[in-house]
């Protein structure tokens, strides 16, 4: 027994302070990287305290993370009496993230760093009813443009796409390996496989309300709101919920489809989005113009031959009585449904999003009035209701946040950290090989997600890049 104890002590002493590129180090490497990345620890002393690892172990792991290019210790912090401590920084430029938002009428694209901060973005009009090839081709062209424009020195680590409808959750954790049902016109199109094959990075898909909610929580109105509800008003009306910085997706990724809830208006009962969405606003605008209740909309109709929901919103904003009544009516219907959600969920903040809601004070005022009037006093005591300022950027910021959260989720991070990058991990290399095979054959495959990535036998020296 005594000999064994001595041997163990000697073995521990030998290992102390030396780099250990074995899978045993992965959990502590991942833990330290996430402490540094999220700003919870910025010096070696803080890492020791937060991780409960010894000084030598922390030095060992930081040396490994430095060799992998994931942290940097070149900057000095402020001295508090003695020598200035070295600051430990996450290398946000170690990789990049491509993100896009696809909705009924617009396409947005951006490139972010690994903190999720957008470096460049672009938005343009798009008709989502066009053939899938036209939309996907345009998306690929714009991604190429971003990469050519920024000339990133490090590769893309992930791609996040915000889709116009709900995205079914994959059956198991791990990478998305094929294209879930997205749009009727896209059936059989290997969208996900194409993106994986072309940009050599894993893909995450979320619905637009989910990414917008994440975006508002990360960089918009909801930064300081622990319980935030986002309501997007457009042709469709949907809601996204973020609790404690995490997106609530529901059992199948279909939470927040509030546009389907029945409401009553002018003696009719119908889904909220049919009676209060942008199509309804445009339709009522046309009726008001033709009935002589809205001089401004009549003028728009005369000049352009049509009236859009944006026209109605702008006319309302400039004081046109007929347009104001339409926006107010729509706001009251939406407010009624949102009040039900507020009473159920007790959020600290409700953010209205979508181009009409963001630019129209009358709609916002009507929602506020209805929610405050129909909710329990405790629910509304500290409740804020505001319009988004991020606009369509919220979806891009949120899509980047989804990718960042997934890449650095502790279990997933442990699976690739010894490779220095997720795209050099064997499971992703295999996924990309499959995607390229599918794209080459023009077929889609089964809808299984890969099992959580294996961690065996991966050392930095043994890694090969993804082509």
């Amino acid at each position: 027994m005594a000999d064994l104890a001595v041997r163990e002590k000697r073995a521990a002493k030998r290992g102390k302070g030396r780099p250990r590129n074995s899978e045993a180090a992965a959990p502590s490497l991942a833990a330290i990287l996430n402490l540094v990345r999220t700003g919870r620890a910025t010096t070696r002393q803080e890492i020791e305290r937060a991780s409960e690892l010894g000084r030598a172990a922390v030095a060992d792991r930081l040396a490994t993370l430095g060799e992998l290019g994931l942290v940097d210790e070149s900057e000095l912090g402020e001295a508090s009496g003695g020598r200035a401590p070295r600051l430990v920084r996450f290398n946000e430029a170690a990789g990049h993230i491509l993100v896009a938002t696809l909705d009924q009428t617009a396409l947005g694209v951006a490139l972010s760093d690994l903190s999720g901060r957008l470096l460049i973005e672009h938005h343009e009009a798009l008709d989502l009813t066009a053939p899938a090839e036209a939309t996907i081709g345009r998306l690929e062209t714009l991604f190429d443009w971003l990469l050519e424009r920024i000339e990133p020195t490090r590769p893309v680590w992930g791609t996040g796409i915000s889709m116009p409808g709900p995205v079914q959750s994959p059956p198991a954790s791990g990478y998305l390996t094929d294209s879930p049902p997205l749009l009727p016109a896209w059936d059989g199109t290997p969208f996900v496989e194409r993106l994986i094959a072309r940009f050599a990075a894993p893909v995450w898909l979320r619905s637009s309300v989910e990414t917008m909610a994440m975006g508002e929580a990360k960089a918009g109105e909801g930064v300081n709101a622990p319980h935030m509800l986002l309501v997007k008003v457009g042709k469709r009306i949907g809601a996204g919920l973020v609790v404690g910085g995490r997106l609530y997706r529901g059992a199948l990724g279909a939470s927040g489809l509030i546009g389907q809830l029945p409401v009553q208006a002018n003696g009719r009962t119908g889904p909220l989005e049919v009676l209060a969405g942008s199509d309804a606003i445009a339709r009522e605008g046309l009726v008001a113009a033709e009935a002589g209740r809205s001089p401004m909309l009549a003028n728009v109709q005369k000049r352009t031959g049509a009236i859009t929901a944006i026209d109605v919103g702008q006319a309302a904003q400039t004081g046109d009585p007929g347009a104001m009544e339409i926006m107010s009516h729509s706001g009251r219907l939406i407010g009624h449904t949102v009040a039900t959600l507020a009473n159920m969920l007790n959020p600290s903040l409700i953010v209205l999003s979508g181009s009409i809601a963001q630019t129209n004070d009358i709609l916002l005022a009507a929602v506020r009035e209805t929610v405050y009037g129909e909710s329990h006093p405790l629910v509304t005591r500290d409740l804020g209701i505001c319009a988004s300022r991020l606009g369509s950027s919220a979806g891009l910021v949120g899509a980047a946040a989804v990718v960042v959260d997934a890449l650095f989720e502790p279990g997933h991070l442990r699976s690739w950290i010894l490779n220095g990058t997720p795209i050099a991990a064997p499971d992703f290399i295999e996924l990309m090989r499959q995607a390229r095979t599918i794209c080459a054959s023009g077929k889609s495959q089964s809808r299984d997600a890969l099992a959580p990535p294996a961690t065996e036998g991966t050392s930095p020296a043994a890694q090969a890049g993804p082509d």
Binding site: W145, T359, G391
Partner: protein
Amino acid sequence: MSITGLGPHGERAAAPSRVALTEDDIKSARGARFSVAIVFHTTDSDWSRQSLAGIAATLGHCGAVVTEVVDCGFDAGRQIEALTRLKDEDVDAIVSIPVANAAVVESHRQVARAGRRLILHDNVPTGLLPGSDYTSLVSADNFGLGLIGAELLSPHVQADADVGLLTYGVDFYATNERDIAFARWMRANRPDLVVRTQRFAALDRVGEALEELIDDRARLAGLFVVWDTPAMDAVATLERRGLDLPVTTVDLGLGGAMNLAAGKSIVGIAAQQPYMQGVAVAQTAILSLLNRPVPGWVALPGLAVTRSNVAENYQQVWSSAAPAALLAAQRE
């Protein structure tokens, strides 16, 4: 002409009429005697002079004083220095054209944090938000300008050739939009053409960039340059090389207008309306200072200028009669 592009955050454009001032607004502004500082990327271009004229005239009409006009000379350091100083001075609003993207984000953000109204003109650095970091963006429909540039160039380019896209190397919202739109139009309408992109890092390197493009691409049959100042340098380079290529560009500067009227290299110009954009900038600043709601993005459409309509468009853009030399060149 309608607005074809979307704003820096995907916004739909608001028309300039949305920020029109009423008599009451003007009366209130005169009583308040606002002060406004202007920080431009350059004051040394026809576009800048027209835009400044629109801003100054409108502010003057509203009793607001322009306290200073800073020429940053396309230098981010100079802009950061100016904004850092101005935010602590006694001005109510600052009008700025950000000269870069990431490099000048923080200095612009500090302006709003110091309690000054910040009206951005033509460019928004990525990450700045309307309402909190800046009041409003006023710009041309830059995406539309790129489409016009492509459409005007297309008839002059033979089938199955290369077209050059000479664009700005600095990450700049306005030129990015023109660049993307030009390539999109060509891809959709002239799939037989290959767009060859070449970037110039600074205005004094336009000739060098074009030389590289020419040497690299023997099939070059047309050129789009993202604004008129580098376009005139490009035209000079083409002449020096003895190349007769059709060129389109953006902004109806005097040099470009004369070249177009004379039927030389420039075959079309997508013109902004800088004076009217300046008016909209000033109106937005006044409304914001009067605590009236203003849209996040106000945009003005571009004008498609050809040799046949250059005189009347010159009048519209410059608010003055076209020079006699231009009319004579057009007649020849």
